[in-house]
């Protein structure tokens, strides 16, 4: 059994209304050191297989087709095979 972590983030240049709101909220709470905040998605996936290269290729397909929207989102992954 392999485990994968998938991180989906908004592409640079795409406005992130949620991130902006959280940034403002943190500042209003006194956390003035916060300069930027972008909200993304984190997924933990358990899957069969032991070949990390194969798993990464398959996960890449999953990200391109469903898990991420390539028009507005980037993704990266960490695989423990």
């Amino acid at each position: 059994m392999a485990r994968a972590k998938v991180f989906i983030t908004l592409k640079q240049g795409i406005l992130d209304p949620q991130g902006k709101t959280l940034l403002r909220a943190l500042k209003s709470m006194g956390y003035d050191e916060v300069e930027d905040l972008r909200v993304g998605k984190y997924m933990e996936i358990a899957l069969e297989g032991s070949d990390a290269a194969v798993i990464e290729k398959r996960l890449g397909e999953m990200c391109e087709s469903l898990l991420a929207n390539p028009i507005i989102e980037d993704y990266r992954m960490e695989v423990e095979a």
Binding site: I14, L15, P17, Q18, T21, L66, L67, N69, I71, I72
Partner: protein, 234 residues
């Protein structure tokens, strides 16, 4: 003219669309279940609004892999008329039948109210009976209507007349104040290059009868009927 209203788990404007098509337009209409793989015999498919698959992951992201969507893609690819309303629009974007993507409304709030939109082109099956600059008073009801598209793609869309509706003031001016959700260029509705696929965030099925506040969207239905050689019964 035969209509099909596609029903996904979580669609909630399907009955409204069915009602408008059958009762107000007087046209034959059937529901098409999302498990169906056959859309033969329809002249126009409607992807209604709602919260297909609970809006999980991204609005429309899961619905686009419903069995029926393969048939819808084939239907659209061969020139069939498809209109996606609200969540239906989001599904068309996720399916790649229309360019761009939806983000959360810039104000982070679900917005449910009447807006005004301006007809930008009459060179589509959906607006042939309208006039350029015509203002339609029509409701929106969405949380993800913040339309985004890369600048180069937007230029291509403008050149090929794919921007169909833009949010505007009551007087028809496209200004930032009339943009309810942060959508690029105040875009409320777009079509495919060939014009046969239309996606729009506002709800024409909720603006087709004066008794519920507006019948401005009748021009969209009248246009598409006329495109198929059918006159809207008086």
């Amino acid at each position: 003219m035969r209509f099909g209203v596609v029903v996904f788990p979580g669609s909630n404007c399907d009955h409204d669309c069915h009602y408008v098509i059958s009762t107000i337009l007087g046209q034959p209409v059937d529901y098409v279940w999302h498990q169906s793989t056959d859309v033969a015999g329809f002249d126009c498919l409607v992807l209604p609004g709602g919260f297909s698959y609970g809006d999980y992951l991204r609005s429309g992201a899961v619905a686009r892999f419903s069995p029926v969507m393969k048939a819808v893609e084939k239907f659209a690819g061969s020139g069939g008329l498809v209109i996606g309303i609200c969540n239906g629009f989001q599904i068309l974007l996720e399916a790649g039948l229309l360019p761009g993507a939806m983000m959360r409304n810039s104000g982070l709030k679900f917005i449910c109210r009447f807006v005004d939109i301006r007809v930008e082109t009459t060179e589509t099956p959906w607006t042939g009976d309208a006039a350029v600059g015509q203002v339609l008073h029509i409701p929106i009801a969405h949380n993800e209507g913040n339309y985004q598209v890369p600048p180069d793609e937007l230029d291509r869309m403008k050149q090929s007349g794919q921007i169909v509706f833009r949010y505007c003031s009551t007087g028809g001016e496209v200004v930032p104040e009339s943009n309810p959700n942060g959508a690029t260029d105040n875009i409320a509705g777009i079509c495919s290059r060939d014009g046969n696929v239309l996606g729009m965030m506002p709800h024409p099925e909720r603006a087709s009868e004066d008794v519920i506040g507006s019948s401005d969207a009748l021009v969209i239905w009248r246009s598409v009927l006329g495109h198929c050689g059918v006159e809207l019964p008086a």
